[in-house]
């Protein structure tokens, strides 16, 4: 039988035993494959050389401030949710050298790294992560000043999403409209199905590039029953959300309650450690530092991840604007869930639950937002704490 030519929107089936052909097809096309793998008791993103490195038979259990890896009783390859890493590790790396410079007889000469950038194929991105990439696209490439490095990496990259067939304690993509099934932004999207002895992946074609990759893969047309099972698997995940975020009117509530006593309550527990911002797949703040040698003959200009939870972050002439933890936590949540809408037309949260899981003390953005909402209009709660915002606490 002649192999059907995959088109946009087509749904095919790759059996588990032929799944390796997806990897070989990506490798043949020159991609370096980034995907989930077990390393030191967590599922992290790394460069993979074969599909056997995927977290087969593993799952993760996430609660506020807790992450544990556990064995599944089947051999699913994508039977988990999300680990500490996200695609931003590759598309927006923690440290990036913009340029280096050498002092010359008169003035400086500036060198830019012109070496070829890797072409990443992300395999196994969750719907929330695909949406996080789309949000970072907006931040870095829309508007007047395009981030060239990001744009180049992004243009060359390919996304093979893996729809979630289960959800865990800190997931809330349903509230954010970002999952558990990827609706846009992917080149290929997989849904893993384990049905008795049957183990296969329903694959949906999201772009021409995706279709081209599929050309090198062993697949067949999907049967109606297979499509139905895949759909049911995603629906199951949607029903398992560990958390919900009530987004209706939230922007106005947050923006009109900068003095809610609840901010003080969070600040008591918050360590101002910055973990939430580091793990968030949409957080994009950076600082720029210059490294010079002792003689002042050479210099590098580096961009490094920064966080609104540090003192330096809001440092302007005369001191830091946000010295209290209260003002920093408020800034973070207010930006994510309210001011992003003014800035980028959408909330900056995709409901992945990382900030909740990886907060050492388990502070939960959904609960904190709900608490502010609950106290809304509670006049007794407002203005009671009129302490100096800028006082060091």
């Amino acid at each position: 039988m002649e192999k059907p030519k995959p088109k946009l929107g087509d749904q095919m089936v790759i059996s588990r035993s032929k799944f390796g052909t997806l990897f070989t097809s990506l490798q043949k096309a020159g991609y370096s494959i980034i995907g989930p793998t077990v390393s030191n008791e967590a599922i992290v993103y790394q460069e993979l050389s074969s599909c056997e490195e995927l977290p087969q038979g593993w799952t993760d259990r996430r609660e506020p401030g807790t992450y544990r890896l556990e064995k599944r009783d089947d051999q699913a390859l994508f039977g988990f949710n999300v680990g500490p890493h996200s695609p931003k590790k590759y598309l927006f790396p923690p440290e990036h050298v913009f340029w280096t410079a050498q002092r010359k007889e008169s003035g400086y000469e500036v060198y830019e790294d012109k070496s070829e950038l890797p072409r990443y194929a992300f395999v196994g991105l969750r719907a929330c992560e695909v949406n996080a990439v789309l949000l970072q696209d907006k931040v870095f490439t829309s508007g007047e000043h395009v981030d060239q490095h990001y744009q180049k990496l992004r243009d060359a990259s390919l996304i093979v999403a893996a729809n979630c067939t289960q959800a865990d304690g800190t997931c809330f993509c349903v509230s954010m409209g970002t999952g558990p099934k990827a609706e846009k932004g992917f080149d290929l999207a997989l849904t893993e199905v384990l049905d008795g002895e049957q183990h296969y992946f329903v694959v949906e074609v999201g772009s021409k590039r995706g279709a081209a990759v599929l050309g090198g893969v062993s697949f067949r047309r999907a049967k109606p029953k297979e499509l139905k099972l895949a759909e049911e698997a995603c629906d199951r995940a949607a029903g398992q959300m560990g958390r919900t975020l009530e987004t209706d009117g939230l922007k106005d509530i947050l923006q009109s309650n900068p003095d809610s006593v609840h901010w003080d309550k969070v600040a008591k527990r918050c360590l101002s450690c910055g973990n939430c911002t580091m793990v968030c797949p949409t957080c994009f703040c950076t600082t720029v530092v210059d490294r010079t040698d002792l003689k002042g003959t050479s210099c590098e200009r580096i961009r490094r991840w920064d966080s609104c939870f540090t003192n330096e972050f809001s440092y302007i002439n005369g001191g830091s604007v946000r010295q209290s933890t209260k003002s920093r936590y408020r800034q973070w949540m207010m930006h994510k869930l309210a001011n992003w809408i003014d800035q980028f037309g959408t909330m900056g949260c995709v409901g992945c639950g990382r900030c909740i899981t990886w907060c050492p003390v388990g502070i939960d953005i959904t609960q904190e937002a709900a608490a502010i909402r609950e106290r809304e209009g509670d006049q007794a709660s407002i203005g009671k704490v009129k302490e100096d915002e800028h006082a060091v606490t």
Partner: protein, 262 residues
């Protein structure tokens, strides 16, 4: 451009109660040490040479804490002879491990350790340098990070602010991609209240942070201790966790005392 005829600024390294590990970081700079020596005149550096050039010194690096009355006087002389005084390491900035004596009777120690305790002249407390004289910059760590030391010397030579982080170890931990040991393994970690600088070494070896670099800019030790307790850490262990290399750092000392009363 640099003028070669220009006199090189004098750099002096001073040792107080310490193990010498921090000044050794300067020797450890190997490749960079030659350029340091080209840019500054090393006027006093006990670990490298016995020769001492006369002051005044443009830059003094002070290692160690104050534990004797003799040293309490000597540090004033160092201050008077130095234009910039930078303290290096946990001893100089937070009393060091020897500040554990601050909670006990020092005479008991001397009589237990020395055959002739009457020859030992020592103060009851080990105190950081900034309790005695004005300090222009504090470089933390037990030991300090040698690249930080180079950065401080560099910033001094180029008349700029040193690029030294004051945020938490967690930031470094996440940037290097380490999986948090607290969250994934339930190991108590002092990273969230500890100043960055080591590159988050311990978590990358599956250990919690011991806080070699002392308190970060906004250490919420109260909230972290609460979490440790929920994880099953005893009050005795909490006291020990906050009393190590940076024992007499204010926040850590206060936090340890709270758990002593538990």
């Amino acid at each position: 451009m640099k003028n070669n005829i220009k006199r090189r600024p004098k750099l002096a390294v001073w040792k107080f109660a310490s193990c010498d590990g921090c000044q050794l970081s300067l020797l450890d700079c190997e490749d960079e040490l030659l350029s340091v020596a080209e840019e500054v005149e090393i006027a006093n550096f006990p670990e490298a040479s016995r020769a001492v050039a006369r002051g005044p010194y443009e830059l003094s690096l002070v290692e160690g804490s104050i534990t004797t009355s003799h040293d309490a006087e000597r540090i004033h002389k160092v201050r008077r002879a130095s234009k910039f005084l930078i303290t290096i390491g946990a001893c100089a900035t937070a009393g060091g491990i020897q500040a554990l004596r601050n909670f006990k009777d020092v005479n008991e120690f001397t009589s237990a350790v020395y055959a002739n305790p009457e020859y030992i002249e020592t103060l009851n407390n080990s105190t950081p340098i900034n309790n005695h004289v004005r300090v222009d910059f504090e470089l933390r760590g037990c030991p300090i990070n040698k690249y930080h030391l180079l950065e401080v010397v560099n910033a001094f030579l180029n008349r700029r602010k040193p690029n030294i982080p004051s945020y938490s170890v967690c930031m470094e931990c996440k940037m290097r991609g380490t999986t948090c040991v607290m969250v994934s393994k339930g190991i108590p970690c002092l990273g969230p209240v500890t100043n960055a600088g080591c590159g988050a070494i311990c978590p990358s070896y599956n250990r919690g942070c011991y806080s070699c670099f002392g308190p970060s800019e906004d250490p919420n030790t109260r909230a972290l201790s609460e979490k440790f307790k929920q994880m099953g850490v005893s009050s005795d262990d909490l006291v020990r966790m906050y009393r190590s290399f940076n024992t007499s750092a204010d926040v850590f000392m206060k936090e340890s005392m709270i758990h002593e009363q538990d």
